[in-house]
Amino acid sequence: MGKDHILLKTDGLVKHFELNQGFFGRKAIVQAVDDVSFHICRGETLGLVGESGCGKTTVGRTVIKLYEPTAGKIVFDGQDITGLKEKEMLALRKRMQIIFQDPYASLNARMTVGDIVSEPLDIHGLARGPKLREQAMELLQKVGMSPDHINRYPHEFSGGQRQRIGIARALAVNPDFIVCDEPISALDVSIQAQVVNLLEDLQHEMGLTYLFIAHDLSMVKHISNRIGVMYLGKLVELAESSELYKRPLHPYTRALLSAIPVPDPDIAEHKQRVILKGDVPSPINPPAGCRFRTRCQYALDICSQLNPEMVQVGAQHMVACHLMT
């Protein structure tokens, strides 16, 4: 199977959350993800970026069915998994794992590292007894930690080490696909690079496919083959990563990229920034038409009436903006 074999595909994915606003209150609907379509090839890393609350985590959790999609289709390795019930998903759960943003909150504080790492093996009945322990030790070694740490507790480790434990746990069942939900955001710069290198090594070794969610745009560029940009529940641009940075087409992507602070004083001194005004509107009542129009300096009349569809503008480059059509 080559790189062009599609492992995961979404078609018009929608996830809405209903908010209960008290007894007599009207029901509010959070349109967290709206009509999002993309695919990820085997062995590929697809990056997902966008501001806080734009729906990245929701996409990540929905594609592996931790959330039930409201509408749309999810195909994993050729199989339509959209309607699968929890029981039917069990066999597939082994193949799709997730690593969480916060290495402090995501590990059970009362379990030893060995138990944390080997729990998925136990759940899926893949090993038991002394074999469990042995495999836990192997997993720790694989993520660059000492096998002797097996009897220690999470609080004894630093953020970077805890993130390694989270990765070891995700790897335990030998998955094909891992959703990495901001795995490095909580870590120091020098430790971020350690974890990114580890994820890259494991990808090569085990042929893993990643959906890599982040808001550090320079790290995402480094690790991803292609990158999707989200704004208020919508995918607004999708392109090969260096293409996206060289030729960003959506006004939001441009603003996002120009906001990255460059660690180079000479460049920083002469940089021209696109400063976005205001804040992201609420996903409960997103603006009609193009959701970005309230902050877009190019907005046309049509932008408040019609939602721009994704159009192909290059071999691997798609964008949703009326300026492009």
Partner: protein, 331 residues
């Protein structure tokens, strides 16, 4: 340039059950009038403790054990709390990392800004209200008249941070200490705040101490940088000295571990191996020694002194000793 702040040989420790945590060790630096300096380092390197020591805000078991902090000619380390309160908020403004914990959720934003104005300045309520509106629009909050009556939770993260800046600035402080003011924010909001701080520096000549672990933010805003590791200053100089001619292996490591956005093909990242040290029972010698690729025998025994490398450029590393082998920084 005259200095608004001079910190000399400042050391701060926490006396905990387990022993003395030496959070800040013998650090010295100046801030010029209208100048922005950056303090960078990993979490736990002593950045926040440095700013709390300056502001006299350390609480038990923390204590400044040595050194002096001179602000506009006044020594702050032994200033009475009454007098210190006048300095805080009035002459030195401070922005904390988490705006939600530093705004009071039960008062409107307007009330909080006005209260600070009424406490420090001779204004009546009407004047204070006018001033509060002026401050909110200065920090780029649209429709400030209406916003005044809202509560902090009705503001987004970026707007709360701007309110914090408005509060820190409302008495026109001579010095603003911003402790990771953008770490919790999205890049687009971060860009707004950086531009705002730049403006304040240029327009009202505010001096700024910017504490961050983001080297990009420093490059955009600061004329000089202090690099801290395990409570010590390991390198300091102009921003250009530190970015273009870094001399300490830790600074090399920091700069190398960030990916280059404009790179055409991807190169493997170069992390700093290992973990930052535990500040309890620190071994003698250079604190960076266990993680340093260039460590020599002396490094494990004696802490290196700061060597003067240029007019403003200093670094603390044995490699800078005339007798040491010559080592080039990779890449």
């Amino acid at each position: 340039m005259k200095n608004i702040l001079e910190v000399k040989n400042l050391s701060t420790s926490f006396f905990t059950h387990a022993g003395e945590v030496k959070a800040v060790k013998d650090i010295s630096f100046n801030v010029g009038i209208g100048e922005a300096i950056g303090i960078v380092g990993e979490s736990g390197s002593g950045k926040s403790v440095t700013s709390l020591s300056i502001m006299n805000l350390l609480s038990f078991p923390g204590k400044v054990i040595n050194g002096s902090v001179c602000f506009a000619g006044t020594e702050l380390t032994n200033l009475k709390e009454k007098k210190m309160q006048l300095v805080r908020g009035n002459e030195i403004g401070m922005i904390f990392q988490d705006p939600m914990t530093s705004l009071n959720p039960v008062y409107t934003v307007g009330n909080q800004i006005m209260e600070s104005l009424l406490r420090h300045q001779k204004l009546n309520r009407g004047e204070a209200r006018k001033k509060a509106i002026e401050m909110l629009s200065l920090v780029g909050i649209p429709g400030p008249e209406n916003r005044l009556n809202q509560y902090p939770h009705e503001f987004s993260g970026g707007m709360r941070q701007r309110v914090m800046i408005a509060m820190a600035l409302c008495c026109k402080p001579k010095l603003l200490i911003a402790d990771e003011p953008t770490t919790a924010l999205d890049v687009t909001i971060q860009a707004q705040i950086i531009e705002l701080l730049k403006d304040l520096k240029d327009k009202i000549n505010t001096s700024i101490i910017l504490i961050t672990h983001d080297l990009g933010v420093v490059a955009e805003l600061c004329s000089r940088v202090i690099v801290m590791y395990a409570g010590s200053v390991v390198e300091k100089g102009t921003t250009r000295d530190v970015f273009y001619n870094p001399r300490h292996p830790y600074t090399w490591g920091l700069l190398k571990s960030i990916p280059i956005v404009n790179a055409d093909h991807k190169e493997r990242l170069i992390p700093i191996d290992g973990q930052p040290p535990d500040l309890l029972n620190t071994p003698p010698g250079c604190p960076f020694c266990p993680r340093c690729d260039h460590a020599m025998q002396i490094c494990a025994q004696t802490q290196p002194p700061l060597s003067q490398l240029g007019e403003q450029h200093l670094a603390a590393c044995w490699l800078l000793h005339p007798g040491a082998p010559r080592v080039e920084r990779g890449r």
